[in-house]
């Protein structure tokens, strides 16, 4: 557990969008999916997911519908809207730019300067 990384502020929304982009999911499912696609390397407080979900719904990036889960329980399923898909693309590009920049900055050797 201790080797899990803290989330950077703002990245939870991106992870939720990404997780949902792979198919409609309920809240717990999103959590599991994030764990799965991140190799369980990120520490996410379970409840903290929900304010993020409500915010994304309010922004029109996700839409939610009640359905039945694989455990045969009632659950609210989230899926991406068109706006959500667009936002995911933009945010992914932004993230990649950021990561590349920071990674190259961090990997610079003294002789390269």
């Amino acid at each position: 557990m201790t080797d899990q990384a803290q989330l950077l502020p703002g990245t939870l929304d991106l992870l939720i969008l990404r997780a949902v982009s792979l198919g409609p999911l309920h809240g717990y499912g999103i959590l599991l999916r994030i764990g799965q696609i991140s190799g369980n390397a990120l520490l996410i407080e379970q409840g903290a997911l929900y304010p993020g979900l409500f915010r994304l719904v309010r922004q029109g990036l996700l839409k939610a519908n009640w359905g039945t889960s694989e455990n045969n329980r009632r659950a609210k399923f989230y899926e991406l809207t068109a706006a959500g898909r667009r936002r995911l693309r933009e945010e992914t590009a932004n993230w990649n730019r950021l990561v590349t920049a920071i990674a190259s900055a961090l990997s610079v050797q003294p002789e390269e300067v």
Binding site: H26, G27, Y28, G29, E45, Q46, G47, A48, Y50, P51, G52, F54, R55, R58, S69, N71, R73, R74, A75, K76
Partner: protein, 647 residues
């Protein structure tokens, strides 16, 4: 469009709160169930799995709160929640609530009443067009009083006023054929309505062109209020002739409803041309230059570009001319200009009402200090509740918001109660006649301005005393407080409350002292030594002019009245006086008193220490032998005694 959508979402969230709440609850429960399913699959028994899932999930109430915040529509929502909770909490401690509400109601009520008076007398100009350039002159021997010939000279010789009108009071018996009754009117110069720029509501007004010498214009203009109450809005009154103090006058018009005369304290029932004043008041004033009572006030609009200071210099120049030309009749005093409406009372009223407003403000401040202390004490008593809420994950901001909401709730309820009381009081004030025989009233009417001021005062004071416990809450350490129990007190709290207490005591000391001074003054003036026995003295008021008596017929009638009264069993002595204090509002004239060695008997040489006020009109005392003795006694009493304020 986007804004509209956002707004509708907010309103929708507000009304669907319970549904949203239920859905949220179900969603979170579903999450925990799914988690528990997984844990159970790993081998835990169901109960243990659910317990663990709950723990892993985190503070559910806090998360729900955050979700609501994420949904927006939160401000109103939280407010409603706070208000509901506030009402519940306040209902739980009714005595605290009642004390706070009553304290505030009194404080805000007092402020609203005083502001209502301030608004009526100072903030609101006279209800005539362009009132801001309308000034009244104080000029001549006495401020506000001058003779008719002097007024004419001032009107024609000044270069500052567009035109100058003047008026005086008349007290008349109005006889329309049935139910004769007394009424108070203005005797106004012909240009009065034109100077004030008033148009008739009905019929026409009289103008300068109607003035063709003494008693040439027997016309009468009714005020709207009097027309409404006495003539029941009868449009046929125009051109009807009625008896005014036994003289025929023709009703020619009605003033507009909003016009209440050029004085704030006294609104006339009717107006007649001043050239006909003699008929109603039974005395000839048009040529008496030395008689300084026929004009109560001269008013006019300043010419554009003329400052009040220039106008004062101008009026003084006319005064100097008059003193040189008529040294026997005219004693010039430097004159000033006053705002029309209050005349020479202007600065006195201003000072009085401003002082009153200051005191009312102090009362409110004391109330705030008091309530601040109460709230701080209450917050200390509720420290366990606050600590518990903090421990359960409530944010300090949220708790403060709730406490402030409570304070504002109390202040609004108190403010509403105070306002309701003040409206009742103001309504009564506006119909109150301080002197039964004088048409003096306060033109107060609670309007939107008063409501707004009361509301703002309530809100501000609510925030003011609500803010006192803030530091206390911000510093609260839930762990310490819960551990120490409700008896836990920290020294710092006491110092804030002590300071408030000191402030409160200081303010109250000022208020109590000032009210004591006022009451003492009142008592002193009520039990003043008038130099004669007040006890068992009865007053009978008559106005012979109203009954059409004038000239030589007056003393004869007075003699008959005295004899008739002496014949009443139990009556010891009967005297006659023209007017009595404090009701010297009427046309009063002053007599110059000279030192024995003075030879040049012009007003300017009068002994300034003695001002003998007698009331105008025929001799004050009937010239029968016995009554003459009374007259002497009275004058001596007046000179020796302390009754005359100027002496």
């Amino acid at each position: 469009m986007k804004l509209l959508a956002a707004l509708s979402l907010r309103i929708a969230t507000l009304f669907q709160r319970s549904q949203i709440n239920a859905e949220m609850e179900e969603e979170l429960r579903s999450h925990i169930q799914h988690r528990a399913d997984d844990l159970a699959r790993d081998g835990l028994d169901r109960a243990e799995a659910e317990r663990l899932a709950c723990i892993e999930f985190g503070g559910r109430e806090r998360i729900k709160e955050e979700c609501h915040e994420a949904l927006g529509g939160n401000f109103l929502d939280t407010l409603l929640q706070d208000v509901r909770f506030g009402f519940r909490v306040l209902r739980k401690s009714p005595s605290f609530t009642a004390a706070a509400v009553v304290t505030l109601a009194l404080a805000i009520g007092a402020n609203a009443v005083v502001f209502g008076v301030l608004d009526a007398l100072i903030l609101r100009p006279l209800n005539v067009p362009q009132a801001e350039s309308l000034y009244g002159t104080e000029y001549g021997l006495d401020p506000g009083f001058q003779s008719y010939p002097n007024y004419l000279d001032l009107r024609d010789r000044n270069r500052s006023f567009e035109d100058l009108a003047a008026f005086n009071f008349v007290f008349a018996g109005l006889d329309t054929g049935k139910n004769p009754s007394t009424a108070t009117g203005f005797a106004a110069t012909g240009n009065y309505f034109d100077v004030l720029r008033i148009q008739p509501y009905l019929g026409r007004f009289f103008h300068s062109s109607d003035e063709q010498g003494p008693n040439s214009a027997p016309f009468l203009v009714l005020s709207y209020a009097y027309w409404h109450s006495r003539f029941q809005d009868d449009r046929g009154v125009v051109d009807r002739t009625i008896q005014v103090s036994k003289h025929p006058f023709t009703i020619i018009g009605v003033t507009p409803p909003e016009f209440r005369g050029s004085l704030l304290f006294v609104s006339p029932d009717f107006l007649i041309p001043i050239v006909n004043q003699d008929q109603v008041n039974g005395e000839n004033i048009l040529n008496a230059r030395g008689d300084t009572h026929p004009i109560f006030e001269a008013i006019g609009h300043l010419k554009p570009g003329v400052t009040p200071d220039q106008a004062v210099a101008d009026v003084n120049a006319v005064g100097a001319y008059l003193e040189k030309t008529y040294p026997k009749e005219f004693g010039q005093k430097s004159s000033t200009l006053g705002r029309a409406g209050l005349t020479s009372f202007d600065s006195a009223v201003r000072q009085f009402v401003t002082g009153l407003m200051l005191l009312a403000g102090l009362i409110l401040l004391a109330a705030c200090a008091n309530l601040g202390g109460l709230f701080a004490a209450r917050a200390a008593d509720r420290s366990r509740e606050v600590a518990l809420r903090l421990a359960l994950g409530s944010s300090r901001k949220r708790i403060l918001r709730q406490l402030l909401t409570e304070a504002v709730l109390i202040s609004l309820v108190g403010g509403a109660a105070g306002l309701a009381g003040s409206v009742v009081l103001l309504r009564r004030l506006s119909t109150w006649q301080p002197f039964p025989s004088a048409p003096i009233h306060l033109p107060v009417s609670p309007d939107a301005k008063v409501y707004v001021v009361a509301l703002v005062l309530a809100l501000v004071s609510g925030l003011l005393f609500g803010i006192v416990p803030v530091r206390q809450v911000l510093r609260a350490n839930p762990y310490e407080i819960v551990k120490a129990g409700s008896s836990g007190r920290v020294g710092r709290r006491l110092t804030v409350r002590d300071a408030l207490l000191v402030l409160q005591i200081a303010i109250c000391a000022v208020l109590v002292t000032s009210s004591m001074v006022a009451v003492r003054g009142l008592v002193r003036s009520l039990h003043g030594n008038f130099g004669f026995e007040l006890h068992n003295a009865m007053l009978v008021g008559t106005n012979l002019a109203m009954a059409g008596y004038s000239g030589d017929r007056v003393p004869a009638m007075q003699r008959r009245m005295i004899h008739a009264m002496e014949a009443i069993p139990g009556v010891e002595r009967v005297g006659l006086v023209n007017n009595y204090p404090p009701l010297v509002y009427g046309a009063g004239s002053r007599v110059s008193v000279f030192k024995e060695e003075t030879r040049d008997l012009r007003p300017a040489n009068a002994d300034p220490r003695i001002v003998l006020a007698t009331m105008g009109g025929p001799p004050a005392l009937e010239p029968a032998e016995r009554d003459e003795r009374d007259a002497e006694t009275l004058v001596t009493a007046a000179l020796n005694g302390t009754s005359l304020p100027h002496y």
